[in-house]
């Protein structure tokens, strides 16, 4: 009989480091001392549990979840679907996935966004869902537009959707961004360039999924999220340590 142990050590070589001068805002917001390495205890292997009482069934349909009755969000209709897995390839069931994004013109519905592209009155720009027992999730939304930002004078973000995922333990907590294959801004984005590992970048780019595309209706993109895996406790009977 094995019981789940702690989570695998996070592979920091695939994540962006804190201090990435090409992304200017990171310079003053990056810790400089080494992090203290901490083995997991109860507060790390556990995390919040969510259920269907926490959300509404329509929360995952961004075309309609903020639209007036009989209207819908403007833009290229897409389905975003995939699985949340762990590093062992096991599904992560019943976990909360939250997304947010700009509208089709690249404008965010946020009191601090002043970009000149108009707000879409029928588009809020956020959605949430729980993965099913197989770790599967899906959203319907519109493809976001590119968005200008003040890193360099002429910096544009590629079309992207922000994702927040929980997992079962608080140390699996992850926020990332999903990109779309073929976007010409991908190779020149300072935020993507914070990631040192080219394969880790590829893993953030959703691919057109023609099989899941609904003919004459919506284009589908597939995007799997991988969270940290957990070790099995083999031959362990430690009494020392913390």
């Amino acid at each position: 009989m094995t019981t789940p142990g702690e989570f695998y050590q996070r592979d920091r070589t695939l994540h962006p480091p804190a201090h990435t001068p090409g992304y200017k805002t990171s310079v003053a917001r990056s810790p400089r001392y080494s992090m203290i390495s901490l083995q997991n205890s109860v507060g790390e292997i556990t995390g919040p549990v969510f259920g269907h009482n926490d959300i509404d069934a329509g929360d995952n349909d961004l075309i309609f979840n903020y639209a007036k009755p009989g209207e819908s969000a403007i833009g290229e209709r897409i389905i975003l679907h995939g699985r949340v897995l762990d590093e062992n390839g096991r599904p992560v069931p019943n976990t909360l996935v939250e997304i947010w994004q700009a509208n089709a013109g690249g404008r965010y519905r946020h009191k601090k966004d002043t970009y000149l592209a108009p707000i879409d009155p029928n588009f809020g720009g956020c959605g949430r869902t729980l993965t099913d027992e197989n770790g599967y999730y899906f959203f319907r939304t519109i493809k976001p537009g590119a968005y200008p930002w003040r890193n360099y004078v002429n910096s544009w973000r590629p079309a992207h959707i922000h994702l927040s995922v929980f997992g079962s333990g608080f140390v699996q907590r992850l926020i990332t961004q999903l990109y779309f294959e073929g976007d010409p801004f991908l190779p020149i984005c300072p935020i993507i360039q914070t990631i040192p590992d080219p394969e880790a970048v590829d893993q953030l780019i959703a691919r057109l999924d023609l099989n899941a595309t609904i003919p004459l209706d919506s284009v589908a993109y597939k995007f799997d999220v991988v969270l940290r895996g957990r070790r099995s406790t083999l031959f362990e009977n430690r009494l020392e340590g913390n």
Binding site: R10, H15, A18, Y23, T25, S26, V27, A28, R29, S30, P31, Y33, I36, S37, L38, N40, S41, V42, G43, E44, I45, T46, G47, P48, V49, F50, D54, I55, D59, Y66, D86, E87, N88, L96, W100, Q101, Y108, H110, K111, K112, G124, C126, H162, S164, F170, R173, L174, I175, T176, Q177, I191, A200, Q203, L204, V225, L227, R228, L239, G241, N242
Partner: protein
Amino acid sequence: MAQNLNYLRETASQTAGPYVHIGLAPGAAGFDIYKQELGWDIAGPNAAGERIRVEGRVIDGMGAPIKDVLLEVWQANAAGNYAHPEGGSPVEDGFRGWGRVITDFDTGEWGFDTVKPGKTRGRNVGTQAPHLNLWIVARGINIGLNTRMYFSDEAEANATDPVLNLIEWENRRATLIAARSERDGTPVYRFDIRLQGEDETVFFDV
């Protein structure tokens, strides 16, 4: 060539960006969309223990408070149990022990109400001093920062806490201890988080 281990690789982190509120706290972004936003009620109405308030700022390397931070807290109840199947004994009905809070757009102040957690079990033996687990994301933070907040009125437990004692530089342990005061009869703990500088907060690679 040896066999392939066939592990998947964790998805890389990207910054939460300046508009994290749209996804995780849409009311703060300026619109009302969900039946209920998640994370505003950490302890629920039935939790035992001392009701407390926790407040602070997140301060950047220029000494300025960051005004677009989102923090999440994960904590045990007053008996030291987490609301999770592996978290110990069952917790009070309505106690989730998880919360989410944003900083004020003008002042950078954040704050939440909860109950003071109890001691939790140690990794193998003993106990850990009462603490909150915190996770911090913002524009300019490429991967969420993990830290812990301990309580100034738990000096005895803090002195033997296995995690605080892992920190080789004793003066840095103080960066994790929130000072207790009282306002209108409610205990208030002050916890400023400094991202850089001589008094940089201790962050953990968990």
